[in-house]
Amino acid sequence: MKKRVKRKFRLSPFTKSFRVRLYLIFTGTIALLTAAFVTFYVLTEINAYRSTLEREGRLLATILSQNARLPLFAENREALSALAEGTSRQSSVVSVLIIDQQGRVAAEARKVEIPQGETVKMEVEITSPSSVLSPESVLLGHQETDKQRVIGRVHLLLDMSAVRERLVNLVAASLAIGTLFWVAVSLLSYQVLKRVTSSFNMLMGGIEEIGSGKLSARVDLEGDDELARAANAINAMAASLELRELENLALQEELLKAMKLEVQEEKKLVMARLIQTNKMTSLGLLLSSMAHEINNPNASIRFSGYMIGKVWSDAVPLLDRVREEEGDFYLGGVPFEKARQAMADNAGKIVENSERIARVVQGLRDYGVGGDAHLHQKLELNAAVSAALSVLACQIKKDVQLKTSLGAGIPVIPGSQSQIEQVLINLILNAMQALDDGEGEVHLTTRHDAHNGEVVVEVSDNGVGIKPETMEHLFEPFYSTKLDRGGSGLGLYISQYIVVEHGGRLQLTSAPGKGTMARVVLPTAHAASVRGMVSAQNGQHAADALHQVG
């Protein structure tokens, strides 16, 4: 119900106009002021008129009292009646009554037609003059007194019906004049408001146009008043917004272009990484295939070498007797005396190199295939280093001085030797690639930190070092400073993964121009389960402080 009432009295859109509201306020205020003024004027006039009538009546009564003083003193009723009759003939007088000091009626006059309406009673005393004294008092020099002696009273009944008539006339005239005034002022105020608010409407129109998005719109107001200044400010704001919008559009276009470029670059990088990964995968497959293809003939070669050596060892006594009997002879263009030893050596070298090929191939195969079954295997750190070096034997350039310092007494720890070999291959390759122009030193050091229960292998170089901004991204996948040179960005990522899988940590310490040191720390927590110490293998002795690889 309340909602209905509210809806009923809701202002129409027309009355929401600023001009209309101002006009309504003006006209309402003027109407109120006019009504107040008319009311005040009518009341004031009526009171003044009533006061005038009463004053006239009092004046009449006073004059009558003055005139009646002597006749009343002389008890001259005829004269008093004449005075009363004369006074009663006044239009506003209804009746006149003159009474003496004892309250007796001395004279009375009354209109024949007594008007129906408001009347006012007026009473005035008849007094003897205050300045008049008795002769004796005068002769004795008495002073005049203010005391007046009352010798009678005059009663007037005044007709106040004229007040009502005047009230009606006044109200009618005031309403007519007030209405005319209101209409005139309302029309005038409308014209004034129309003129004043035209600028305001223009301003509002401009603001709405700008607010709707048309920033090129302008408020066309001239002058130096507040509205004109506001219009100028709004125009300036719109111009500024327009400029900003244009700048935003340009920036957006640039951003889109940049994003497109970035996506393309990223795409290239991703593609390069994919290709690299694919290459690696292919390389793994190739290695497996190569291992298979190499192992078969290699086994045959080793067997042949073995057989040659076996046969030669059996043939040598026979050939010695031949030489003793028949003298020296040539075998393959070489005197038997020299060939006898060379043949045995060559057969041994065939076997030895064949075995070496077998180990290299096995190493490549293990690198390519990988696997987690090695976690439960036994890891000999020095053996892993040697295996890694054997894998990289062909990669090591002659300008690189590879120095190893393998610690003694390093315990066997649980872990995948092949995976640790992979880690070390990555670190050694990185170290060699970090050398300036491929020249420099790479140190490999292993040791056992019994105090902390750890085994440590460090790969350090004196290369260009790593910049601080690069250090932050070293362990991120696919991050590489050598993507253009075949880097995959996965080496350190995978290495850290493997080390962490072994419960250890991979630390890199570097400074630009001062080289880099990579430290792999592996725990020996389960070392107790692996009994026995292994000595240095493959001709490497613990006493070998330096093992130079040519």
Partner: protein, 283 residues
């Protein structure tokens, strides 16, 4: 307390009053400015020793006892009440003053408050008035009017007399003088010139354009043309001279009552000018 009052009263009554050695007992009706002026004039003229008794200060003054015990040579009565009281004794001569209508006995004389009628008549003559209207109460001013008529008979002034017995008759009586008089003589008659009727004289004067010659300058402000007023101090001096004669041995009976010897004439110049009268001031 009651006993103390009784002892004091007994002491006052039993102890004989001391004999005051004075010659004149001044009985004054009340403290009044006019009386005071007259007494001062009297003292100025009469150097005899005197005692003054203001009667309004006593509930009832026994003048007979005072005269019997103090033996003043002369009693001076100031005012009507004092004269009436002084005449209750007959052992001491009485002089009176400031009495409006004195009715002296054989051993009393004095100066009345009424000027000699000839003074008024000379003023009327000077104003050129021949018929002068007079309203009076015979019981109050009858004797004065007889003397006035006698004086008027010897002059060019004809008095038109109207008697009133009550104050309310005055306005009506004055109306009866319309067109019959050239001037009005306002007497100090309490009946003819009552406060309520005083205005009638001046209304008559205004209506008939005749001057009113009155006895006090206070009436000049109400419309009177000329006023002949008494000099109260001089009346005292005049009576002082009489007293001096009595004290020197002249019998009171041989001294007739006198009118005030000095009169002050004042006029309302506006009224005189309007009525086109000749000025009489300075006489």
């Amino acid at each position: 307390m009651q006993l103390l009052r009784f002892l004091l009263l007994a002491l006052l009554l039993l102890i004989p009053l001391p004999a005051f050695g004075y010659d004149v007992l001044v009985l004054q009706s009340l403290h009044e400015k006019g009386y005071e002026e007259a007494v001062n004039g009297f003292k100025r003229e009469c150097r005899a020793s005197m005692r003054r008794v203001v009667l309004s200060e006593y509930a009832e003054a026994d003048v007979t006892r005072i005269t019997r015990e103090e033996h003043p040579k002369l009693i001076v009565a100031v005012g009507d009440r004092a004269l009436a009281l002084a005449q209750k004794q007959n052992s001491t001569p009485v002089l009176y003053m400031m009495v409006l209508n004195p009715k002296p006995r054989r051993w009393a004389t004095g100066v009345s408050m009424l000027l000699d009628p000839s003074r008024y008549l000379s003023v009327f003559e000077a104003l050129g008035s021949q018929k002068v209207g007079v309203v009076y109460d015979p019981s109050r001013s009858g004797a004065y009017l007889k003397r006035a008529q006698a004086v008027a008979a010897r002059s060019r002034v004809d008095l038109v007399l109207r008697e009133v017995r009550a104050a309310k008759e005055t306005p009506g009586v004055l109306q009866s003088l319309r067109g019959k008089v050239d001037a009005l003589w306002m007497l100090p008659d309490a009946t003819a010139v009552s406060p309520g009727a005083t205005e009638a004289y001046f209304l008559f004067s205004q209506g008939e354009r005749v001057p009113v010659v009155t006895f006090a300058d206070v009436y000049l402000t109400m419309g009177g043309a000329v006023a002949l007023t008494i000099d109260r101090f001089d009346i005292g001096r005049q009576l002082g001279g009489m007293a001096q004669s009595v004290l020197e041995g002249k019998p009171v009976e041989e001294i007739p009552p006198e009118h005030p010897r000095r009169a002050i004439i004042k006029s309302n110049d506006g009224v005189v000018r309007q009525l086109k009268l000749s000025s009489v001031t300075g006489r």
